[in-house]
Amino acid sequence: MKRRFLVVVPVLCWALPMYAPALTLTVTDQATGAPVAEAVVALDRVDPVTPVTAEIYQQDRAFHPKVLILPLGSEVEFPNRDNTQHHVYSFSPAKTFNIELYAGRPERPVRFDQPGIVELGCNIHDHMQAFILVTQTNAIGQSGPDGRVELPVDTATNAGAPIRLRVWHPRLPDNTQPVSRQVNATGTVAIDLQPEPEQETSMDLLQQRFQEL
């Protein structure tokens, strides 16, 4: 029993890096060096992925969530929880679709069968915006408030070799496609970002207050 334990423990120790989230990266802003939250980082590789069914709903004239990562072939429902109608559409080459003015739940979900960035909008509410990232890899994650992201990747197999990444953020100068980066086992990924959009003005807040009354 003791000998078996001595064999199993080293094997487990060798095997652990293969399945644990081994690649830890920090995404930073190239201009300021500050950590960047909500950046999507993926390995530049193709994996077998399992499609899912997801939902992006509209409430308070906004999409929720604003960024959705989906495996290729997944379907998305767009329920409308507002008291106004919405016209959800996208011109993105990865998926061009158009759900004309509707309330409640559209008849059928939209299937995303091409990898890429799909930007959503509402034709009667210009400020509404959301993104669907249709991916073909399982090694994908989103950075937290500290800019850190962990990817389930085997760094032991190709130890020392640079890892090719695809990085995307809504504030990229061209957010219709991810940017490519190369890193080693750990490190920092710097991306060029546009400034934050202006916050709501006091007039908007006042209007919001009137709506609440």
Binding site: F91, V118, E119
Partner: protein, 266 residues
Amino acid sequence: MGAVERLGFRGRLIAAMVTLVALVSLVIGALFMVYLFEDEKSRATEQLSIGERLTREILERRTDLNLSRLSVVVQDFGFRSAVASRDPATLASALDNHSRRAGADFAVLTDNSGNLLASTLSPSIAGGPTALFDARPGARSFAYLQGQGYEVLQIPVEGPGLRARLIAGFALDQSLATVIARLSGTEAVFRARAPGDTSFEVVTATSVRDRDLVKLREPNQDGELMDAGRYFRRSIQLTEPGSQTGDIDVVLMLSRAASLANYYAR
């Protein structure tokens, strides 16, 4: 000599005094003429300065109005759908229709990398000077194309998943020259020359005689006041010198006859 002696002292004194009076009158007349001309020149300079500021203001307002029209066009769902379709016939048709809505005299649509998608310009110049397509979004430039001067504006066409650029040209035409002339109280002439040319061509002008327009073919410095016969004039450069899209300026001309008429009216 005999005639002078016959005059006597009184006669000579009178002759000397008459000569003196004539000389003084001539000097006074000459000084008055110089003063009159300098005053005329300074009034003309002042009016041309006001005209210059007014012209720049009119052009700025016109740019704002045209950009506002274009921003309505590029936000139209039908137009954005047509651009997203990437179908050449649909693109060309929608571009022609929607550029008319904005009152544009020509329109060019490119993708975000500057590749031409559609154009209402003739195929020979559809590629156009590269500077035409390199302008910053929202920035104004001027171009001389096929014998006509244009104000060229660029505006992004953006929608969910759609990125393109619309470049629209608005002719520097007679109606614009007339507005400038009416408000500034001067004649207004738009001149242009193709890159590499030395002499200008008159693109459009208000009521300036043809023989005076010929004189406008020669270049002059911006803001220069010239006593060109019948007119004081000032040139306002609209393009950077040596621009790839040609040199365009507007010349404000103040008739000297009209300027002197103020004195007669007093």
